[in-house]
């Protein structure tokens, strides 16, 4: 029950944060609309037949880029709560620590998941983009949101203060965007960058989205889902280890 109460509280706060809403929803929507227009799409008209055009290529990358920006926002919110003593007050309540972490994580996963769904939904409705079978697509979005929660946890453990998390989160978002070509082929990449991009959720997410858009099904994305799962577990383990080490040192 405590998990639901905490998750619901976090969601309420997110809805009442205008800056967060603009950054996580309004800006990416405007960008997708603009890129669609530049790519020659007409709103509310069917997409060109067999067209895997610029928008089809860029839209998944943009969605993942903004997902990482939301990761930064989520991590910063947790750090602000810690600064304000809210987390300590939560911990002094008769609630298990795991319920607090689960409640916070659930709200971030829901927000990231909804963000991806809204961007995909709007681009499909507006420009008729085909993202693939709905059920599998929803599964990919969920896997991405869950794996991104690992990045939230690691950012909080590494950055600790809202200011540092802001800077670190932005650096991570841009680096991941460049490595995984979220901005299309605007920034050239090298083979070692391609290899390195496999540590990013953007790489596996884009790969899954492209597979589905090109007609693939569940079997075509199993590797991507597995990689995202391993990434999530590894990130949470690293974050927990880092927090425990620092807590023992009283930092």
């Amino acid at each position: 029950m405590a998990v639901l109460i905490i998750a619901w509280q976090d969601l309420k706060r997110s809805v009442r944060d205008p800056v967060g809403l603009v950054m996580t929803l309004a800006v990416p929507l405007v960008l997708i609309v603009a890129i669609g227009l530049v790519a020659g799409h007409t709103p509310f008209q069917p997409a060109p037949v067999g067209g895997f055009d610029a928008l089809s290529y860029i839209a998944p990358g943009m969605a993942l880029f903004f997902m990482m920006l939301s990761v930064r926002q989520s991590a910063r919110t947790i750090a602000e709560d810690t600064d304000r003593g809210v987390r300590n007050r939560l911990r002094s309540a008769p609630v298990a620590d795991i319920s607090i972490t689960a409640g916070n994580t659930a709200s971030h996963v829901i927000l990231l998941f909804l963000q991806l769904l809204v961007l995909i939904g709007i681009s499909s409705l507006l420009y008729g983009l085909s993202w693939g079978p709905t059920a599998v697509l929803v599964l990919v979005c969920l896997a991405l949101a869950v794996s991104a929660s690992g990045w939230v946890a690691l950012l909080v453990s590494l950055g600790r203060t809202p200011g540092r998390i802001n800077a670190l989160g932005l650096a991570l978002t841009l680096t991941f965007g460049i490595l995984s070509r979220s901005f299309g082929a605007v920034i050239p990449t090298t083979p070692w960058m391609d290899t390195l991009s496999r540590v990013t959720p953007n790489y596996w997410g884009q790969h899954a989205f492209f597979s589905l858009a090109l007609g693939g099904g569940m079997t075509s994305i199993m590797r991507d889902l597995g990689a995202l799962g391993i990434m999530c577990a590894a990130l949470w383990a690293a974050a927990a280890l880092l927090s425990r080490t620092r807590s023992a040192k009283g930092k």
Binding site: I5, R13, G85, V86, N88, R89, A93, P94, A96
Partner: protein, 325 residues
Amino acid sequence: MALVEVRELRKQYGSITAVDGVSFDVHEGEVFSLLGPNGAGKSTSIGMLSALIEPTGGEALIGGLSVRGRSAALRRLFGVVPQEIALYEELSAKDNLLFWGRLYGLRGGDLRGRISSILEKVGLADRAGSAIKTLSGGMKRRLNIAAGLLLGPRLVFMDEPTVGIDPQSRRSVLDLILQLKREGTTILYTTHYMAEAEELSDRVGIIDHGKLLAMGTCRELAASVGGDEQLRVALSGREEGERLSQSLRAVPGLSVKSDGAQVTVRAPRVRQLLPRIVEAAAAVRATLRDIEIREPNLETVFLAYTGRELAGQGADVPGGFFGAE
């Protein structure tokens, strides 16, 4: 009966000892204050007692339950008022209290009734629907206390709840704490404001560098350091100060200290010696600029136990206005 029993409680962070073998009891219905400068170990002590920080050594029991293991039953026994405004800024006062109440398992009419009653008590009933970020510093402080009292706990930990607010808001917070005291709530209070400790507390513990140096009622503490009154004489210059202190040292029973143009005289009933001191000043041709008599208080106690004054150690003078730590 002791509601809180603390025995040789220790917290070590690497080579740094934050709390060093602290022992004390807090009795049911009592206000017990830990008084000390910033970094003395007050917040770490309260952190261990409120089950936020795992002690390195020793033991603490609340209502007979150990703080080790952080059981839910233990955490139901107390409310916490942290130093920070630990509330959700984006949400209203009522929404915040609804959230904290639900976390403690309160629901429906019972929860709504408690919220109305607590908002009334802290004087914020008319601001129930206002977002926290729109409230003044003093209102936030009062709501911060309200969140800690919502459950109606037997024991409340208050960690410097008046830090960083203006004197008027501080007064209203202190009045609220006095009201809780009259209602029989047990309070463990930390502060670096001597005036607050004197006004609120049944007993005070002097803490510095992680050690509890002395403990008792204000009167007992004053008596423990001799209970001497202190007379400070300000003169026109250093030479006058030296001449007067030399003259006064000849008087038996007086403890005389000279610091530039200021001479401090300590004695059990120093005010009775005032005419004699004025005569002595006239005799050595010293011009009196100011005379101040101070009764023994927590400042003198702190000075006696630590060798330095609390004011200036991250503490202020009574009624002053300082920023948050």
